[in-house]
């Protein structure tokens, strides 16, 4: 009987459990969970603040998930060390877990750059976990002046979640635009305008230099008064265990298509990893929940002796604020051509290079976008489809009748 150990209890771990069990119903599975919660939908913490969901509904799987899958969860435990040579995990309490196959699914941690006077701030929070969210919720009042450092996905979802529950929200970022990791200037400007119309204030292109209790002084001299601070500058992959065990690590733990690390029988999945983005042909940390699940599942199948590959990963994001949605996927490699269609309320930018769709940014109109995403994932030559029609809207009609016959007349 094989012994499987998973360090971490997020969505990658859930995928890993399901992957293992699709192949091996016998082996033992032990999950090391730092958080005291069963696997939950991390990106839903902002929807919790918004009261669009609750703690019960945020569970990623049913109550009986672990027992159904014969997995034991060690809640409140962390791993202190991986001894790859003897295939053991040493826990924080000194216990040892022996493994035949191990998955490191340790996720990422908030990155807080050194900022002067941060210790003078009474109410400051990260926004990554249920516990962060409950603590933040406890600290806010309808009069709170909230300052969020970071206008990325986490900071802005936090702003949306807090909207209507606090007095004012100001978001600052060193980048000159919002959502700088996924949107270009024009798309970001459209999103920022919409956020501002909903009462969110921005201080962009500068960062907080000094905190004095309830005042932040920016690099450009501007001052922002606040009483609750949220730090959403960015995240860092949790790579230490694998790095210390001698595995190859860059910004994330390096994994191949099978989610193997450089060490034997040691796999990694989720936000802690760095892996191949086929849209840009580069290795990247793509900390995305869908990819985390797919990596976890891939790792699980391979750990159990199957053969799975996650070989078409791309960055992609579906995110919306106050009713305005945005879909992005892929990348904009140097020298790519852009096709744009836009009006006041929507924008569609498609990026093309070497006869392939490499990426897109859409705001406002989200109908059937997955057809575009599939073109990137499948690296479909655009000369083989009717790209002129696809530019107007995503449709199977542009993909040729052979593809249509395959998809609509048989099982896929």
């Amino acid at each position: 009987m094989k012994r499987y150990v998973i360090i971490g209890n997020g969505v990658a771990a859930a995928g890993c459990i399901e992957g293992i069990r699709s192949f091996d119903t016998e082996g033992s599975i032990t999950v090391v969970s730092a958080e005291q919660h069963p696997v939950y939908c991390r990106p839903l913490i902002s929807y919790y603040l918004e009261k669009k969901t609750d703690l019960q509904r945020m569970n990623y799987r049913s109550e009986s998930f672990y027992t159904d899958n014969g997995a034991e969860v060690l809640y409140g435990r962390t791993a202190a060390e991986i001894k790859a040579d003897v295939k053991q995990v040493i826990l924080d309490n000194g216990d040892r877990l022996e493994y035949d196959a191990l998955c490191n699914a340790t996720g990422s941690s908030p990155f807080v750059p050194p900022m002067q006077g941060l210790d003078t701030v009474q109410y400051k929070f990260s926004f990554m976990t249920i516990d962060d969210t409950l603590a933040l919720e406890k600290a806010i009042t309808p009069e709170s002046k909230v300052l969020i450092i970071g206008a990325g996905l986490i900071g802005l979802k936090c702003a949306e979640g807090l909207h209507g529950r606090v007095g004012s929200i100001t978001v600052c970022d060193l980048a000159p635009r919002v959502l700088s990791s996924i949107l270009d200037d024009k798309c970001a400007a459209m999103m920022q305008k919409h956020l501002e119309a909903n009462g969110i204030s921005f201080v962009l292109g500068t960062s907080a230099k000094v905190f004095q209790g309830s005042k932040a002084i920016m690099q450009n001299g501007a001052e922002v008064d606040f009483d609750v601070l949220v730090l959403a500058v960015g995240v860092r992959a949790n790579t230490a265990l694998v790095k210390n065990a001698g595995g190859n690590v860059n910004r994330g733990i390096l994994v191949d298509e099978a989610c193997r690390t450089s060490l034997p029988d040691l796999y990694a999945a989720g936000d802690c990893t760095e892996y191949h983005d086929i849209s840009s042909d580069t290795e990247k940390v793509m900390a995305l929940m869908p990819n985390a699940y797919m990596q976890g599942r891939t790792a699980g199948i391979n750990m159990a002796g199957g053969a799975a590959a996650f070989d078409n990963a791309i960055p992609m994001n579906s995110i919306g604020f106050f009713g305005l949605h945005c879909h992005t996927a892929g990348s904009q490699p140097e020298g790519c051509e852009m096709f744009e269609e836009a009006d006041e309320n929507h924008i569609r930018r498609l990026f093309v290079k070497d006869d392939k769709l490499t990426g897109f940014m859409l705001i406002g109109h989200m109908h059937r976008t997955g057809i575009y995403t599939a073109l990137i994932r499948n690296q479909t030559p655009l000369s083989s489809v009717d790209f002129a029609r696809l530019k107007i809207e995503p449709q199977l009609a542009a993909m040729g009748s052979a593809y249509r016959d395959k998809v609509l007349k048989g099982a896929v």
Binding site: N59, P290, A329, G370, P394, Q395, L408, A411
Partner: protein, 147 residues
Amino acid sequence: MKRIYVKEEWCLGCHLCEYNCAFANSGMTDMVKALRGKTIYPRIQVEQDENGVTYAVSCRHCKDPLCVKSCIAGALSKKDGVIEIDHDKCVGCLTCVLVCPYGAVVEDGSGVAQKCELCMQNACGTPACVKGCPNGAIVYEERGEAE
């Protein structure tokens, strides 16, 4: 496992399947009251290719469902071969719309996602698009996918 398949040689492009779908999932008993003067959000989409050939596209209930794997709310699942959305869990992030390669998951008009569930969640019995197709261009039959 029965699925919905199209016979494009019989499709008239009349869009009636879209209306039947919207009505079947409206929860109402009178089609006129349910649909008159309203924008409909069907779970099946009629397309037309460059030669004028028309056909309807709905969820393939695929073997490797990217929507289920990608759902950030744990709201999509595959049970007995049918991919379902738990509307109570869906928060309307539309990640499923971003990943479905066939454009078969769509927004429902109120901000959350919806898709064909083979009329198993409503009182229709045989899928409404199949039952109502005037030319037999949409069929509900077994073509051999293992569940």
